[in-house]
Subunit: 689 residues, 2 copies
Amino acid sequence: MAAPTAQESAGLRSPALIPARPAVDTPVIGGTVGRLPLFDPAPRVPHGHPAKAFVGEVVPFDVVAFREGHDRIGVHLRLTDPAGNETLHRLTALADGTDRWRTQIALDRQGDWQYRFESFADDFATWAHDAAVKAEAGIDVTVMSQLGNALLTAAASETDRPDAERRMLKKAARALSTADADALHATAIDQRLASAFAARPHASLGSHTEWLTLRVDRELAGVSAWYEFFPRSEGAVRRKDGSVRSGTLRTAAKRLPAVADMGFDVIYLVPIHPIGTTNRKGRNNTLTTEPGDPGSPYAIGSADGGHDAIHPDLGTEKDFRAFVRAARTAGLEVALDLALQASPDHPWVTEHPEWFTTLPDGTIAYAENPPKKYQDIYPLNFDNDPAGIYAEMLRVVMHWVDLGVKIFRVDNPHTKPLQFWEWLIAEVGRRDPDVIFLAEAFTRPAVMRALAAIGFQQSYSYFTWRNTKTELEEFLTSVSHETSDYMRPNLFVNTHDILTEYLQFGGRAAYRIRACIAATAGPVWGVYAGYELIENVARPGSEENIDNEKYEYKFRDWDGAEQRGESLAPLLRRLNAIRHAHPALGQLRNLSMHWSDDDAVLVYSKHLDAAFTGTGTADTLIIVANVDPHSVRETTVHLDTRIWGIEPGDDYEVEDLLTGAVWTWNDHNYVRLDAFAEPVHILKVKERS
Amino acid sequence: MAAPTAQESAGLRSPALIPARPAVDTPVIGGTVGRLPLFDPAPRVPHGHPAKAFVGEVVPFDVVAFREGHDRIGVHLRLTDPAGNETLHRLTALADGTDRWRTQIALDRQGDWQYRFESFADDFATWAHDAAVKAEAGIDVTVMSQLGNALLTAAASETDRPDAERRMLKKAARALSTADADALHATAIDQRLASAFAARPHASLGSHTEWLTLRVDRELAGVSAWYEFFPRSEGAVRRKDGSVRSGTLRTAAKRLPAVADMGFDVIYLVPIHPIGTTNRKGRNNTLTTEPGDPGSPYAIGSADGGHDAIHPDLGTEKDFRAFVRAARTAGLEVALDLALQASPDHPWVTEHPEWFTTLPDGTIAYAENPPKKYQDIYPLNFDNDPAGIYAEMLRVVMHWVDLGVKIFRVDNPHTKPLQFWEWLIAEVGRRDPDVIFLAEAFTRPAVMRALAAIGFQQSYSYFTWRNTKTELEEFLTSVSHETSDYMRPNLFVNTHDILTEYLQFGGRAAYRIRACIAATAGPVWGVYAGYELIENVARPGSEENIDNEKYEYKFRDWDGAEQRGESLAPLLRRLNAIRHAHPALGQLRNLSMHWSDDDAVLVYSKHLDAAFTGTGTADTLIIVANVDPHSVRETTVHLDTRIWGIEPGDDYEVEDLLTGAVWTWNDHNYVRLDAFAEPVHILKVKERS
């Protein structure tokens, strides 16, 4: 509970708790602006929704504060955690001409935090500055001594100061009673006084912002590695007659230890519900099915049930409970797909036709984008009976929550009303604050940002389509700094619907490069099963895998591929191990872009100050990636080493966490990155002893 | 009152008033987001203060609006003018991936306007799009005809539609009763129906933003040319013994017709109050005075009175009234300096010592920046007796308002509390909404922007220090587009305190270039007397004129200089005439940057659509300036001619309004700009007949 040292303040390195004391509150006269104005508090979401953080996240709190003239001000953050504990934190002026002040806080408790900023006239700092200058110049010594005496005497009478401090202040006041230039100067620069007033300022004026809310989710909302699979493929067997026996939740569970062994935290299952038979899609999204085609799991609902049911091929509710338990045992959490649409065979269709659009001819409208029709799907209509349909969706989600599912990957949320998601996420959160919703919205930026702002705890992003150095610089800067108060990107490298040209044509190198960047650039990333096997053949002219798993079973030889050295599983395992070992990779906002002289060599760092690592030493990684998967690149990288506390020009050691190589680096360094061997450096900056 | 045509909507060219009808208001369920979300309405000031415009300003109103899925939406602006008249305006989707919609409105009435945005499901547009596509494909003809029949029949029953329109809608509904593909297609693309629904949509769902306020000031707040002078210099006479007889308000008034003849709108007087004698500053800001030194008019107050008094050398209140009348007769408005500080001789010092800071030794604190002291000035202390000092400042301002002054140039507002200005400007505005305050704050961006946001109607800017092409591009874009909702820059080319190096060393060309840019880049500009005479000698090492007029009388031979061809008065006269003839120059937000291949050739245009010029034709000016005053530059300029409705590659004529030269231009044009002859083109795009 000590006052922040000058060093801590300057580097914004410490949360620097100080005991809370009431704010000085100068009346606002007539208008809306406080006596010592405060503007633009952050974190903040544009539309007034709560800002977001996760347990363990280091969040910059900042505000614009200034006053007229030359007198000194200070700024506090007053923070109330979800349990009601109030703390005060001193902010540091960035002193970059923006009038912005900042502190960083590691948020250590899930729930809603309240915060406001408080400005105050830092009377001691103003006096000390003027007194020191005037004592040196030999002017106004008497007056400044008298002013200091009065200030110190008043502060000494403040009863919330420790007795020893009050005695020190009284003594310092007495030292000024003689009006001696040397005594004045010594008092003005006394570090014990400065520390005392840094912890408990003596303020004649003060203002404050309104209270704002920061919602802190559990850590997994902000830091996780996802693995997507189709449970029906895991353990599926092709019989001698060519027909297939579906995998089940029991057979799929056998894959969980291997997924956990690769270091993933979340196992995400595409929909596991009964699949409609009316107008079922065949292989490669064809309109005709062959006998045995399992259908798309997104055509949800049949005579076997709807969104609260399990496909009979996969098993029973008991099997599902066993799957969740097996995942938990392996160290994985289960994420389910939430795809709010119905096949024509869904029970809702007969029980609640008002939840769909009925046409004048009495039929229910198919999903369509005229003149195209999607005849295996009925879209929901949220406007005929909002109360009924909202309640049913909440019931469905809570059904799975009760079965142990705390994570939902929401399919196409941008095709349902935004206000529905705002309501649903709030209602579910009230019942279980551990539930996490991931928005699978690939659409225009305003829509994706709005979905995040109104509550989604994670969001798919444009990452898969950002492959060049320039694209990645812009994208990573945006997600780390511009939208990080409310949007947490999940950097999936592929999905069952997305196989980009970069992956189609970049070979093994492309798969390595993308995994290294996704795993290190943000704290949440994901892969869809088969990425390890470099399944990079697309349906011609499309951006998805040929023989898409949505319409058929997949048979994969995980172990054989790894034994033959063909699998990327060892790389994924290594990347997740690096993530677990390095707290700097568990943060979203700590990415800094650096530079290289090559148009394909991307350079960024992730840094976490010693105050926040829990180890007593800072954690700094420098990632250098050749994003051209067809080339060898040699270039010079240029680093702002001050971010990790090293003066430009000074040497330090780095270790490549992928290869073990160790080099001595400074702020300008030669690199050679061979796409066909090791296209990426993940370098740990070694602490100097 | 006709509906907007497609062309008008596409070009955002028309205010397109349509009769107001109530909004469809779909309930918000649980949360805060509407059924058809609306975000980020503009114009808007970051801190919640009213946005600003001026009478005649063309303001873009825009908002982010979208809905889930493919169905069409529309967006309205509902606008209530200060008299309570409500209008509805249709917005156009920018269709640039931002989900932003926009319309432009010319605000024609002073006072507070209220506005909100309303989104609605555009049911006819959705139906018409789908029906046209399906009719062509020959699918769903019966169902689409039935849906269309129902929609048209429902719309025909809406009693606020004109009878003829209702008959047309009924007839169109009947045409769909046969379920014929041709009839369906014809109805779907019927332009009369489209127009009817554009004016009065048939909407099943709708949402709206909160009401926001836009404060519209009188035109002079947004469009004016200022001329600053020291009245004591105008008509001052040096006697044979070397002493000076001060100019007076009567002699200064003789200069007014010449100032008006140069086309200026505002005559700004530095403080005209009694000047203190205690510690009076001498020439060139020296601490010792010579007999006859008049002192700085900013050291306000003597035995002759304070801020509500007139310096005896200048005349009486009666003389001041005569000066105001003379200005009005010449077509000028008087602006007074409001410098809230006191000389030691100010009546406030004895009558209200509580308005200053009294030190322990009983003396009043001088203005200082330790160890520097300004012993001719006592700064006010706004915290000892806020009620008393606020009331006195309001009294002083209203005293001058009662004498006919409606414009105040506020000296150093950033050295007084921000909340004081918020209060004062609001109180004065309540008493007289015509009063305009110009903030003379040259400080950090956050402070300058806050002063504008809380109420100042005009602001000095960084213009004097933005001289290179790159600096000007950034500066002009910022003031025209980033801060234009609340900050109106007054582009003074010089002041009695600012003589930049660019002017000191750029010769006559520098003076010409800066005047041409200031007069055309923004709708408010200003000069300090002497600019015409190229008074470009600085006090060595400083950024202000040698023998600063603040401390002495100036004797200038205006007419002689003009007769000898040395004066820039003809250029200033020409620039102001161009401003008066071209409404595009009377707007702040209509500046577009263009490009040249030369690093000193700045290119921008000002364009106003025909709907807003009052002449029936658009007004477009292209300004091309060689900002290197020491060179001749030849280069190619590249223009986005679509802004003025000309396709890239098409020819059009331009006329140089400074020289009368006429050229045929397209989107890439050769220019030669000789700093020593004509460094700037001000080109009028000629309308094609």
